[in-house]
């Protein structure tokens, strides 16, 4: 078949996909689809073809798009999306997942060439955001989005964009604080060196001068950079919590007080450098802890999945309404690839609903007229009309979402090691300090206070406060490198602490896509060609899969083709009558023997056999199963138990598998486990498990596309790293060990310091050396140890 081989060779000039047809060619450039071709035409019209010069095939495939954006002309919706608006111009920010290369950057910042009404575009490459300033008198939001769509950059507009949360542009402006701290630290160090190197008698004047300058430099440290610690210490005290911030705040205060005292009374050089160093390092630690990864968002919830608006038909006219306004009895129109936002009854059209988002089941289910279709399904194929039976707010999905599990605040999670220790640390520290004070008071008051303050200074748990963030962020970046994205550093500790693993089946341990289709029939090439020719006429996903499975073949002339909605297809080919479809369509008997999806084949009424579609298990299931000797493992599946046999290999224990589980029952199951004192890790897919994910101590969403949103999860695991899960668990444990050890180290430092302090003669130099030294040790130790552990686990 020369022709087909030729076909396979040509790739789309725009997106680089294989071209399966040859009907999209412009000036000897091949395109895979009309979409890609039209993008090229738009760009060439405005001579923006440099777009293609920066990278090969910079585009993203445009195969399935017949989006409609007319809802954007609705004022209320537009108002929700726009960041800023005055008499002439509007500013709007879009999230555009397609942004991926310098060509994107180049093109999206050149929109003005396509439409002069667009005045200014700025791309944030990592956030995949496009900020546009345009003249809304000349172009409205809808046209703007359509323009973007035309050039292949369709913004992802969701309900969440309309209901904007307050964007938190680091309120505590940490960076500035660090800058100030660093600046003062540097200068104070400079001015303190002379003291250490020793000033000759003649240079005493310098000493006092430097002292005063030091006080000057410590002021911003205490009153600007360090404020956060006082505030949080105070708040914690009010809530009767003793956290690490208390001794820190205490340390800072004492350091400053004593520095000022010593310099003013000319009794010493003070501890200005220790003070500045302390605050500087603490802030750096805080910064490291805050480190987040832009490339996935944990903050999106079900709203980011729902459309902003739906089209309803009112007395014959179709018009968009905001989702909020959608009411019971509305007759809505849902087109190909659109989500059904509310539970509704099918009134018109062939409904092929893809529930993969809700159930992980990738093969669309056909619904018959009058059936109730739950929200969250995605229509594939022609446009359908439905009547809303429940408002969005009460639909199956949103109810699930509004479950108390979601409203529960995060801090009920297990207490981190850090918090536990710091409580005792503080108590011990204070008792030692006061003990010393009382010990000295009768004999020597001066020395008593000297010792008291000295203790609070040297025992200031700087290194202690740093060990967790530095270890965790190191671990975090290693997980990140292995496509395992954790929400925050605390998750690592949870990962190490869990003892029970609950898994969802579909989409979690099974791959989301049909990857093995079995042909239970003996067909000759000629017959295969017949089936290919038949199916190639149908747009039904199963037909597509079959065609893909049979590979590129020559199409034969087809006559009398007919497709029975949701049942099958039939046609005369080469004088043979070929049928393909469901059991009741072919054998007009519905077989309940297996719940597997099958397509049966008859040629001239002769039953040839069937295609069976199976969901494959992710590779590495074996290693996961192997965990069962260290963890209790459970499987919760939404489907019937027809795969029980296959799954036995992974879950040998009886009572470890549960089928026909509704999202709610999954949630309850997790809850019950927790009530038995288990630390539960739930591994599930997207939305339907989100309840359980939230409920669990550690919810991991498995997905093949990290940009899919996975509400309620603490971590997102890329499907291709699924097999590494056991390694991740072990690595998390290593991390905790490292932290414990670094705590030990920093405590030893504190003890060393104390030995000086208790006697009341702590020289500024000792303090100034101990503090950075301990910090340096901790930072280098944690990062090195983590690196080493990762190497051991082959994660780097």
């Amino acid at each position: 078949m020369i022709k087909s081989s030729v076909l396979e060779k040509t790739t789309c000039y725009h997106c680089g996909d294989d071209c399966t047809t040859i009907d999209h060619i412009v000036e000897d450039k091949h395109f895979c689809c009309h979409g890609c071709k039209s993008v090229y035409e738009v760009l060439s019209a405005d001579d923006l073809c440099n777009y293609y010069s920066y990278n090969e095939h910079p585009g993203v495939t445009r195969k399935q798009t017949n989006k409609r954006f007319d809802y954007l002309s609705d004022e209320t919706i537009a108002a929700g999306l726009i960041d800023y608006r005055d008499r002439h111009i509007s500013i709007v920010t879009f999230y555009i997942p397609q942004i991926h290369c310098s060509s994107c950057l180049w093109l999206l910042e050149k929109l003005n060439k396509i439409n002069p009404a667009i005045q200014y575009c700025r791309v944030d490459f990592l956030k995949k955001q496009l900020n546009i300033r345009y003249n809304h008198e000349k172009i409205n939001l809808q046209q703007l989005v359509e323009l973007l769509d035309n050039i292949g950059y369709e913004p992802l507009i969701s309900l969440q964009d309309v209901i904007k949360k307050q964007n938190t542009v680091d309120k505590d402006n940490l960076v500035s604080k660090i800058a100030v701290a660093g600046f003062c630290f540097g200068n104070v160090m400079l001015l303190s060196f002379p003291e250490y190197f020793g000033l000759s008698g003649l240079e005493q004047t310098f000493k006092h001068f430097f002292g005063w300058i030091n006080i000057l430099f410590s002021l911003p440290i205490v009153l600007y950079s360090g404020t956060g610690y006082f505030v949080s210490a105070w708040q914690n005290l009010k809530n009767r919590v003793l956290n690490i911030d208390f001794p820190l705040a205490l340390g800072i205060a004492v350091l400053f007080a004593r520095t000022v005292l010593e310099i003013v009374t000319r009794t010493g050089a003070g501890f200005a450098d220790t003070l500045c160093g302390l605050v500087f390092f603490l802030l750096v630690g805080k910064f490291v802890q805050k480190k987040t990864y832009h490339h996935i968002s944990f903050e999106r919830d079900y709203r980011s999945f729902f459309p902003v608006a739906v089209h309803i038909i009112e007395n014959g006219i179709e018009k968009p309404v905001p989702l909020g306004k959608l009411g019971i009895g509305n007759r809505m129109v849902v087109r190909n690839n659109e989500i059904i936002p509310a539970d509704a009854i099918l009134l018109k059209g062939e409904a092929l609903i893809d529930f993969s988002f809700v159930t992980g089941e990738s093969i669309p289910i056909s619904k018959t007229l009058g059936e109730i279709i739950y929200a969250g399904g995605r229509q594939t194929g022609e446009a359908i009309e439905l009547e809303v039976v429940k408002p969005v707010s009460q639909s199956y999905l949103t109810q699930l979402w509004n479950n108390e599990a979601f409203t529960r605040t995060q801090d009920k999670r297990m207490q981190t090691f850090n918090e536990k220790v710091s409580k005792y640390f503080t108590i011990v520290l204070l008792s030692i300090a006061f003990a010393t004070l009382i010990f000295w008071l009768p004999t020597d008051v001066r020395r008593g206070f000297a010792a008291f303050t000295a203790i609070l200074i040297v025992a200031c748990p700087c290194a202690l406060a740093l060990s967790t963030p530095f270890t965790m962020s190191a671990a975090l970046s290693i997980f990140d490198r292995n496509h395992f994205y954790l929400k925050n550093v605390a998750v690592v500790e949870q990962l190490a602490a869990i003892d029970t693993i609950v898994m969802d089946k579909t989409g979690t341990i099974t791959t989301g896509t049909v990857n093995n289709i079995k042909l239970e029939a003996i067909l000759t090439d000629a017959q295969k060609q017949l089936v290919y020719s038949l199916c190639s006429n149908s747009s039904h996903p199963l037909s597509r899969i079959i065609c893909h499975y049979l590979g590129n073949m020559d199409q034969l002339a087809v006559s009398g083709y007919s497709e029975v909605a949701g049942k099958g297809v039939q046609a005369h080919i080469n004088g043979q009558f070929v049928m393909a479809g469901s059991a009741d369509f072919i054998l007009d008997c519905t077989d309940h023997s297996s719940a597997r999806t099958m397509v049966h084949i008859t040629i001239d009424g002769k039953y040839m056999g069937y295609f069976a579609f199976l969901l494959g298990y992710r590779d590495g299931m074996k290693n996961i199963a192997a965990l069962s000797n260290s963890y209790d493992e459970y499987l919760l599946s939404g489907d019937q138990d027809h795969e029980k046999g296959d799954l036995q290999q992974f879950f040998p224990k009886s009572s470890s598998m549960y089928f026909n589980q509704s999202p709610q029952s999954k949630l309850d199951f997790v809850q019950s486990l927790q009530q038995n004192g288990n630390k539960v890790m739930m591994i599930g897919d997207g939305l339907n498990d989100s309840g359980a994910l939230r409920q669990s101590d550690l919810g991991i969403a498995v997905t093949d596309n990290v940009n899919n949103f996975s509400p309620g999860s603490d971590a997102i695991l890329d499907g291709k790293s699924f097999d590494k899960l056991p390694v991740f668990l072990r690595f998390a444990k290593d991390t905790i060990v490292i932290i414990h050890f670094s705590f030990f180290i920093s405590l030893t430092y504190n003890l060393v310091g104390l030995s000086y302090a208790i006697t009341g003669n702590l020289s500024p130099l000792t303090a100034a050396i101990l503090m950075p030294l301990s910090t340096a040790t901790i930072i280098s130790f944690t990062s090195l140890a983590t690196h080493f552990a990762a190497k051991k686990r082959q994660l780097i």
Partner: protein, 708 residues
Amino acid sequence: MQPEKFYYDNKIVRDFGIATVLWGIIGMTVGLIAAIQLYHPGANMHNQYTTFGRIRPLHTNAVIFAFVGNAIFMGVYYSLQRLLKARMFSDALSKIHFWGWQLIIVSAVITLPLGLTTSHEYAELEWPIDIVITIIWVVFGINMFGTIFKRRERHLYVAIWFYIATFVTIAVLHIVNSFELPVSAFKSYMVYAGVQDALVQWWYGHNAVAFFLTTPYLGMMYYFLPKMANRPVYSYKLSILHFWALIFIYIWAGPHHLLYTTLPGWAQSLGVAFSIMLIAPSWGGMINGLLTLRGAWDKVRDDVILKFMVVALTAYGMATFEGPMLSLKQINSIAHFSDWIVAHVHVGALGWNGFLTFAVLYWLIPRIYKTELFSKKLASFHFWIGTLGIIFYAVPMYWAGFTQSLMLKEFTAEGMLKYPNFLETTLQILPMHVMRSVGGAMYLLGVIVMAYNLLKTAKQGSLVANEAAQAMPLEPIHTIARESAWHRRLERKPIQMMVAALFVILIGTFIELMPTLTISSNIPTIASVKPYTSLELQGRDLYIREGCSNCHSQTVRPFRSETERYGEYSKAGEFVYDHPFLWGSKRTGPDLARIGGKYGNAWHFNHLMDPRLMSPGSIMPEYEWLLTQNLDTTTTRAKINGMRMIGVPYAVGYENQANTDLDKQAKAIAADLAKDHIKVKSNKEVIAIIAYLQRLGMDIKANKSTKY
């Protein structure tokens, strides 16, 4: 709103480019001549204007301010326009800047051989030129900030930050180091004396290296390297971070040039500490640059321009690592005053500045001439000969420095100096000096080849004097709903606002008081140290004119090897009347701090007439002209007055009898010479310089005799 069409000014870039190449060749040629004189004194063509002492400053000034300077402006004017999407603020200013800068260089080329110098290294130019420099620098500043203000791209790319830092810091440095009191049209005295002057000078000297040879080049690296490799810099975050780190630390490292001098110990240690810290940000830059090429090493293999960049970055890494090492006291005690330092700076200069400049030229000239490079072969020849040149230069110099220092420090079993005669050590390293000049010649040859290559390139293309570009005008920030301006945040926090204000005010007022504080100096004074006589003062100025301090230091470090060789180590109090200080930074010849009274006048006379008479094999040039030229005594009065003004306690009215004093002392010396059958008029320059030499270190000796 329509996108604005505008034109990049390529002509000014081209002009600076030409200047770069031209001055490069001149400066390096002068360097070569100077290098040859270090083993063949005759190479000065027996002409005072081409003698080492006078052309060494010419060489440094030419390569630093002419070659590198023009290269910086070329790079800045090219990248700034493109990064800001705007033409330079004003073509007029650009032209003034260009021609002004060339004028400065020309005046340097004239004045330095004439011996008009302040003797402050890298700041030798006399006060009128200093003023011109200030003006032109301000012009450059206005032009740069003007462009920044009318930019069409909101974000200031990291390169621009480096340019800004360069401008601001150099401005401050230049002004502080130019506090000099003019006594005539082309003669001035530094306001500070001795140790203080030294400190200022090296605070300047070090930061000049930092902010003239480093930061602008880092900026250029961050613009041109990504362009050349056509890939974004390895980590933009890192580049920003290391910029701020670098500028905050660099300022403090100055004192490491004065280790073992009479600078207070803690100030020295300070310099050391901060020099060590410098490694981090410096290497941050180098690593960021090299990693930008990760995965593109195949490109490097067949792109000579990238080859140049790689060597440049490596050289930068080596120099910035070696620098802090050299500031360690132990290492410094060996390296300082020796050829090691010469090697160190040339690795930086030839490798980092030179090669990066060449890379930029090779990349930029074809672009603004809309053509291809004339010959890749010649370019890669340049690369290889240049690299070899660096090696042939650096290796012998490291070797020489090391050898000579160790010889000078070596003692015999009996505890005597192994090489009591300094000359022995010099003769030992002459072969290395020969090789060094060969290396230099190779490097120079490469540059000449480049000049030819670029000329041909320009010929085959045509200059796009005004390159058209388009960009949206920048809308005023307020139209974008921006919540957080820092001062607004401060206003919400009155305490912090107050603190910030207090902080700035205190520092400010404090700085106001500075100059008054500096007049009085609390340096331990030594009773026996007296101001120079008028003749000695004139002699000292001749010493400065001839650039003797380029080869002879005037400070004895507290090592046994030096106290044995030269005498008692130097005290801060000895230099209180030295405007400027003449410690020097290199010992091609022996230290002179204690030369006074060591030899007779006749010895000095003959030695100055022909050094090889007194010490065979010496590489010191012959100063015949000192014997023939008459001493200009018309300036004496002004000089005395000037000195008094800046704190030298000359009795009131001394200026009136200064010249009679001068004659008396001169005649005495002439008479003494006559005893040795040397006929010389007392009004010759040689008399004055002998007087000065004989005075050096005498005060402290007198001190000894009076058992103080």
